[in-house]
């Protein structure tokens, strides 16, 4: 089963390398969101703790939802989705393959966007705490987003359907990520962010389990 998941992941990575459809556009979009928000809020030294985490997470969330929209939208071309569904694997395997692909793409974008953000706000570049938050939050985004992306792709008005579905459900992830990022940026101890990390982990586990269970119903023909 693990091999099959990796096969789907590898297929998506290979397609991405050849078409460069998702990562580059999401990266540019996230960067733009960050720049626009910086203009909207101004950039002073005093805003580091209050506004900077918000700007980072708005950029990663909106970038993430754009990328998640593509993860199944690309499969619509040339009936690739049907091909994927005809694979002799369990539907849960397809979910996990797509989940790992979304997760990988989100991390790939975050690895480039976050250092630029830190540099723009004159913050220290090496923050292991922030890396952990990004991994946990991206996993939560990918767990919910992959499910809803598969759902939205089959509806009318599919481009707007994913954000409408996705954003209210990931409210806990956004709150927890922002609240955990603030102490990291301010250089406060880990204890301050512990409770938020616990929420992120709980959210990730709950939604990975629930989405695995219901994914089959979403893609059913």
């Amino acid at each position: 089963m693990f091999v099959k998941i990796i096969a789907i992941l590898w297929k998506d990575i290979l397609t991405e390398f050849r078409t460069r459809e998702i990562i580059v556009s999401v990266f540019v979009f996230s960067l733009l969101v960050m720049v626009i928000f910086s203009f909207a809020f101004g950039t002073g030294v005093d805003i580091t703790e209050s506004i900077a985490p918000g700007i980072l997470w708005v950029a990663l969330t909106f970038g993430g939802v754009t990328g998640l929209n593509r993860i199944f939208a690309v499969e619509k071309e040339n009936s690739r989705l049907e091909g994927l569904m005809l694979c002799p694997v369990d539907r849960a395997v397809i979910y996990w393959g797509k989940l790992t692909a979304s997760f990988t793409f989100m991390l790939a974008v975050a690895i480039v966007v976050t250092p630029i953000f830190l540099a723009l706000f004159n913050l220290p570049l090496f923050l292991p705490g922030l890396a952990l938050i990004i991994v946990l939050a991206s996993l939560g985004f990918a767990a919910v987003g992959t499910l809803f992306s598969a759902l939205a792709v089959n509806t009318r008005a599919r481009d707007i359907m994913l954000p409408i579905l996705f954003l209210p459900v990931v409210v806990p992830v956004i709150i927890a990520a922002v609240k955990a990022t603030a102490p990291v940026l301010a250089g406060r101890p880990w204890a301050d962010m512990l409770i938020w990390l616990q929420i992120l982990i709980a959210f990730d586990i709950i939604y990975m389990v629930v989405a695995t269970l219901v994914f089959g119903f979403v893609v059913e023909e």
């Binding site: 089959n154 509806t155 209210p168 709150i175 929420i199 709980a202 629930v210 119903f217 979403v218």
Partner: protein, 227 residues
Amino acid sequence: MNGRHTLRNSILLGLGFVLMMAALFMVFVYVPTEKHSGIVQRIFYFHVPVAWVSFLAFFVTFIASILYLWKREIKWDAVACASAEVGVIFTTLVLITGPIWAKPTWGIWWTWDARLTTSLVLWLIYLAYLLVRRLANEPTQGARHGAVIGIVGFIDVPIVFLTVNLWRTQHPTTIVFEGGLTTPMLLTLVVCIAAFTVLYILLVVQGAGLKSMEANIRYLKGAMQGE
């Protein structure tokens, strides 16, 4: 619609009418005005039952969604959808009556308190639920997608509540009345909750019946066209 259903609906309608009239009488005539917050406190007897019904409605949608995916019977989908529709209307009422009450009592229209924020997020999730159903390519797909959102969305409720509670710790512990509820107030509240619950059941029974009939008509149309 057969005779048994008509009888059940008549009983529900009659019970709902009697309870609603009793509730109105108790709210405006029987219950004494609360001495600290004054006349505006009477909106409490509307706000709380409506909030209770909206949570009940989404819970019913959650259970009916699970049953639909499990049993694949169209009646469960009809119940889930009708309940979600009523839930969205009642949550809208909660979000309207809340600020009306909050402004004179707390001096603000809105605060990002756990209950308020959870209601708002719930409202947004179930608006998406109704949109997905409307924008589905065909009804059975809408039913499946709706059921998935009905499950995934409801699971979010405790997580959102917990997170917002931690996020905004200046939670006004909703001390609306010093010294708690007096017996007449409690009695009025109970009657109001009963009245709104019966109203909810009536609306869901009617709504689900309508949706089942729609599904039936679609089926018959399909059969007539020889599909």
